[in-house]
């Protein structure tokens, strides 16, 4: 019983971190209708900025966190401006954006390989990881609880932003139809930059927590493939779907690792993808895009 509860909490905690990444990715998809493969790069940027700030300026997680979120957000905006904006202004073939994002993800990853080296780095232990006893039922680590809480806070903040703010309304309109939103007076370029900034920030938060969990290395961005799977399972373009999909994924992974085998956890993730694609390709909450004939 104790182990089950532990794995459940682990799963939800991991899932909530995935959710941060998946939501940012789904947000970009809902507006521009393409998979930003460079999303993992934002995650890694967040992780490394946090690491370097912590080691250089002392162990203040707030400063380091703030800088890394800001840095990742800016990097995301820059990526969009440099690589995607010129393409989407000239053509609406999303394949080109897809390939460009692939290129950017490789560039970002390898910049860190060259600059920071391929070693695994442990973040200075600012985020508490000590065991916490829950209601006498089970033991979990403060880290798991913290990542759950932080993810919840950020996702709620995002939800409020989208539902209550003016730009949030603009984003919802653009997610429905980007061109029309532009015709209605929304500054599309500004909107896209804001979306990418938000996506970068969310990815950075996820990146920091993942760096603590798995240690930091340039290829950590590869873990976003799981967030992609989560977004697909939940339905590409749907934010609640991304969250639900991530939780399912996190739980599936942790339960497999805990009760079956650690080796198989990744295979379980991909099996979930296959099952979703076979049974309901648009995911749990996704909409099938209808083309006007």
């Amino acid at each position: 019983m104790g182990t089950l509860a532990q794995q459940l909490i682990n799963g939800i905690s991991l899932g909530s971190v995935y959710a941060l990444i998946a939501v940012g990715y789904s947000l970009v998809y809902s507006i521009l209708l393409f998979s930003n493969f460079a999303h993992g790069g934002f995650l890694v940027i967040g992780g490394y900025i946090c690491y370097y700030t912590l080691t250089a300026l002392g162990n203040n997680i707030w400063v380091a966190g703030g800088l890394s979120l800001l840095g990742a957000g800016i990097a995301a905006v820059l990526t969009e401006r440099i690589a995607y904006k010129p393409i989407r202004e000239r053509t609406n073939i999303t394949l080109y954006l897809l390939i460009a994002s692939l290129g950017m993800s490789i560039v970002i990853e390898n910049i860190f390989v060259i600059v920071a080296g391929g070693r695994f780095r442990a973040l200075p232990p600012v985020i508490p990881t000590n065991p916490v006893h829950l209601f006498g039922l089970t033991t979990t680590s403060a880290f798991d609880l913290l990542s759950l809480v932080v993810a919840f806070v950020f996702l709620t903040a995002l939800q409020l932003f989208i539902v209550k703010s003016k730009w949030g309304l603009a984003i919802r309109a653009a997610a429905f139809d980007l061109k029309t939103a532009g015709l209605m007076g929304i500054n599309v370029n500004m909107l896209i930059s804001i979306v990418f900034f938000v996506a970068g920030v969310l990815a950075a938060v996820g990146g920091i927590f993942l760096s603590v969990r798995y240690t930091l290395y340039p290829q950590l961005g590869g873990i976003t493939i799981k967030a992609f799977v989560a977004a697909v399972v939940g339905g590409l373009g749907s934010l609640p779907g991304a969250v639900v999909g991530s939780l399912i994924l996190g739980l599936a992974e942790m339960l497999t690792a805990g009760f079956i085998s650690s080796q198989l956890r990744d295979l379980v993730v991909f099996s979930l993808l296959v099952i979703t694609l076979l049974v309901k390709p648009t995911g749990l909450f996704g909409k099938k895009p209808t083309e006007k004939v």
């Binding site: 950017m104 970002i108 390898n110 799977v229 993808l273 694609l277 390709p281 004939v293």
Partner: protein
Amino acid sequence: MGYIGGIIILLCINAIAVMGVSLLTGFTGIFTLGHAAYMALGAYTAGILTVEHGVHWFLAIMAGGLLAMIVAYLIGIPTLKLMGDYYAIASIGLVESIRLILENWQSVTRGARGYPGIEGFTTLPVAVAFFFVLAIIMVNLINSRYGRAFKACRDDYLAASLLGYNTARYRVLSLAVSGFYCGVAGALLAGFMSFIQPVMFDMMKSTELTSMVVFGGLGSLSGTLLASVIITLVTELFRPISQYRMLIYGGVLVAIMVLRPEGIMGSKELWNLRRKR
């Protein structure tokens, strides 16, 4: 064998794989990063068959291609209903899954440490012969009603279906042929390096092949071959700074998409350029 001989063999192997990718991505419009998985299947099949079962290398290579083709076909049927990004993600999942299986199924594949001792059956004549035959077949396929069907699926699959084409069937067919080519390339690679490891068939390999197709021009076979020659040679020349290799690949991909998405040749073929229009 000589250094130059080795380069030519590598060129031929890459060219075969890249023709498969060109068919799928350039001519049928299916963006995928799964090709390394099919190369892996071909390589391990050929390796295991020649080393442990004494199968003749030619049969082993064909078996490798066939296995890759069958797996591609089986996976393609459910997944190719998806369009665009969904399929791209699925293909990444495929590569990773196959690499995981290869690493963990130690009894068959010897795991992450690799599979050694494969006979060096990929000599210069073998590689060149396979390349020529497969190239001719690919050119033929594209200059046939199948080529028109693939291009229709790429350019407007809705219009294609309203011309009576079962687009799903043609997409799966394209994937199967592409799988065969990648499988054969993988098998030839196994016979060239005499040693294969799962990590040789990872996302980097897939990305390398995709960037060759993009660089050469989506929809141009000659462009793809040209690009594969250029990139393979450049890779060899810059082996000393290979850590920058991936950085440059990434940069080139972005640059091409921003500056000249149609690549070197666009959708024209070298051999058609002089024809008067």
